[in-house]
Structure formats: structure tokens, C-alpha cells
Amino acid sequence: MNFENTQHPKGFKVAVLTIIMRKLVLAAVCAIAMFQTSASQAQQATEIQLTYSKGQFQPSQVSAPANKPISFRIKNLDAKAMEFESTSLRVEKVVAAGSEGVINVRALKPGRYEFYDDFNDKARGALTVQ
């Protein structure tokens, strides 16, 4: 155990608070940087239009180019809300009955990305990025 007597308890408190503040400022700067990157990417997005009808996505298989951001535009034609969700795309959005929702996705690497309606296990689809 490395104990030592400290003569300046106020100094200790200030030092600890300073460390906390530095870390929080760093975290905030990183977060803002990420948001700005995301926002700038959204301006050049590839748009994918989907409709949701009778508990199914139409079309259920879509494709997009790699390394470009993507914007899903989903029209929910059903009489109840649906939730567009994808673990690999890391997005979720509830789209109310009879309305439209837009989901912006980062630039993606080549691969297959599944999506689904979180309220309906049978509604599935996939995005192929190449």
C-alpha cells in the first residue's frame, strides 16, 4: 500500500476535478466530431425507398454502393406502427401508421446488412452493399 500524508486536501480536490473536467471535455470534443462527420456524410447519401405493407417490406432485398452514406425512406402503408430496426446498421426508428420515416445510415463497407420490423418478427429484409 502506497499511503502518503497529504498536506493540501483542497489541492487534491482541485486536481481530481481538473482531471474529470479534462476527460469530459475530451469526450465532448470526440462526440461533436463524430456528429459533424455523420452530418456531412448525410448530405451525399444514396436514397433507398421502401414501403411497408401487409406486414412486409417492399422490396425486401435492396442494394447500395459501398463507402457512401445511405438514406432509407420508409412509407408505412399499414394501419399500425412499425419499427424499422437493424443490429448491423445500428439504427432503429418507429414509423407511425400511414406515415413516412427517414433513417440515415453511415457509409458502409461491402457486406450484407439485415433489417426487420421490431414489432413483427416475420417482416425481414436485407441490404447488400457492394
Partner: protein, 297 residues
């Protein structure tokens, strides 16, 4: 004798998990029809790379219990009452309050006490550095978690403590929707000021490996092993002891927006510098248990 029983229980549990994983129940469903799983909480104390979905919010009660010192009776817990959210597709932020309990009697160098207290507060920032795709099974997240405490985690004494946990959380999808490996690296410096005016600087460092098998679409079973080292200096220069902990893990998703995770680690090997006795029960405990419930919205 006590040592052998503890180790035996841990090994027996891991063996039971292994047998269960390989039994026919695990082959009853087609994993290709399952949704992808969020990996953050499927490895017990080991954290996966998951950061949630953009826009997702979650409230969580996450308790860690620590039991067993060399003498007497020792039971302590720390519970995080946590709110977490994912503001972007790369970052997750968490914060909350800490509650602690201590029930200690007859343990050398620790005062007897029985108390429940509001222990402190914490915040965590997680950044997804490498994302998994269908072509790349590896994902890596970097996390920092500053924590302030007014109650010492081990002794339950009134202190002023600041800890800065830094971790690398990596996981690998070995079999699609079925088998996952998790790996953590940990560096956790802290400084504590006691009511007597003493200042203690220390650090914990180590790593873990975990294997989790999805036996049903909503149930994941596994096991993990941790190797932890303790130092009486933040720069890792004053080594005081190390330990290996081993145990089973469980993850259950009750509903699309609700899940729990549970884990038990038993110390199966440890050493204290200057003490020839088995195990390191000065800096670590004989057993630790994690139980977490979460609701997403």
C-alpha cells in the same frame, strides 16, 4: 479444503455449461432464421463491442456482488442505476448513480460494518473503432469510464475516490448467429483519499477471454476467464499481486426490449506478494457475481 471446494465448484459449473452447450437442445432451432444479437452483454463481466442502435435509450440496474476474504465473513455489492443512450452509430454514452452495500465481520485490516449507502456516480463513453460486417467477424470498441465514490468499494469506509477505467472490448463472431468469443483489456488507475488524510494511488490491469453460445434465439450461455493484476501505483510500477477468475455466464432476452445478464466468477488461482497463502484475497475476492436487468426504449 475450502480452496479445493471453491475451485471444484467453478470447474464443475464450467463443465456443466460445456455439456449443455453441446447437447441436442442447441441444435433444435435454425440460427439462420434468428435476428442478429447485440453482443455487449452476452459475455458476463467481459463486455462485448456492442454500442446499441442510434436513438436507442436504456435504463439498467447492474449489480456486482463480491464475496469472501481470507478470514471472517465478507459480502459487498455495488449497483449501478444507469441510463445509457446511443447518439450516433459510433458512440454510446452512459451515466448513473452507484449504490453500495457492505456486510463485513472478522476480516483482517477491514473494520466490521453492515451498511447501505449511496456510493457515488459514474459516466462512460464508448466508441466503436472497428465494426463487424458479414465479411469481417471482428468488432472492437474503446471505452472510458470515470467514476467518483464517497464509499470505498472494498472496505465500505467514507473516502473520496476517483477511478478512471479504460477498456478495449473486442468480440468475434465464430459461427453466424451462434458462437461468439469476447476479449477485454483493462487498465483502471484510481486515487483514494481517506478520512485520515492519507492518499492511496493504485491500479488494476488485466484481460479476459470469453466464449458464448446462443442456444436459443433469446438465450446465450457461456464461460469466461479473467487475469487481473494489482499495483500500488497508477503507472504499474509497484506490483502487489494477481489472480485468475473463472466462471459461467448467462444472457436472456425476455422480450424485444428487455433482457438480463448474469455471471459468476470464482478465483481459481491467486498470489499476494509477501504472503505465501493460496489466492489473492487482499486485492480481490473469492467470488464475484453480476446480475443486470435492462429495459430499452
Amino acid at each position: 479444503m475450502v480452496v479445493q471446494i471453491g475451485r471444484g465448484h467453478a470447474l464443475a459449473f464450467c463443465a456443466a455449461v460445456g455439456v449443455f452447450l453441446s447437447c441436442g437442445v442447441a441444435r433444435a432451432e435454425d440460427p439462420n432464421s434468428w435476428r442478429e444479437i447485440e453482443t455487449k452483454y452476452i459475455f458476463g463481466f467481459t463486455l462485448g463491442s456492442g454500442i446499441g442502435l442510434e436513438g436507442e435509450k436504456e435504463v439498467t440496474v447492474d449489480s456486482i456482488g463480491r464475496f469472501g476474504k481470507r478470514q471472517g465473513h465478507y459480502a459487498a455489492s455495488e449497483t449501478k442505476y444507469e441510463f445509457e443512450f446511443t447518439p450516433s452509430q459510433f458512440i454510446q454514452i452512459e451515466f448513473g448513480a452507484l449504490g453500495s452495500t457492505h456486510n463485513i465481520g472478522g476480516v483482517d485490516s477491514l473494520d466490521d460494518r453492515s451498511q447501505i449507502a449511496l456510493g457515488g456516480a459514474f459516466a462512460e463513453l464508448r466508441y466503436l473503432a472497428l465494426e463487424r460486417t458479414s465479411n469481417n467477424p471482428l468488432a472492437v470498441t474503446l471505452a472510458v469510464e470515470p467514476t467518483v465514490r464517497r464509499i470505498d468499494e472494498t472496505s465500505g469506509e467514507r473516502v473520496r475516490n476517483f477511478e478512471f477505467e479504460t477498456t478495449v472490448n473486442a468480440d468475434l463472431e465464430l459461427l453466424r448467429n451462434r458462437l461468439y468469443a469476447g476479449f477485454n483489456l483493462l487498465y483502471e488507475p484510481e486515487v483514494t483519499k481517506t478520512t485520515l488524510g492519507d492518499t492511496q494511488r493504485e491500479a488494476k490491469a488485466g484481460g479476459s477471454a470469453a466464449l458464448s453460445f446462443r442456444i436459443l434465439s433469446n438465450v446465450v450461455l457461456g464461460g469466461e476467464i479473467w487475469y487481473l493484476r494489482h499495483y500500488d501505483a497508477a503507472n504499474l510500477t509497484a506490483f502487489t499481486g494477481d489472480a485468475i477468475l473463472l466462471g459461467p455466464t448467462l444472457f436472456i432476452k425476455f422480450a424485444p426490449k428487455m433482457f438480463m445478464t448474469a455471471a459468476w466468477n470464482a478465483q481459481v488461482w491467486g498470489r499476494e506478494i509477501g504472503n505465501p497463502a493460496a489466492f489473492n484475497l487482499s486485492e480481490f475476492q473469492r467470488n464475484r457475481v453480476r446480475l443486470k436487468f435492462a429495459y430499452e426504449f
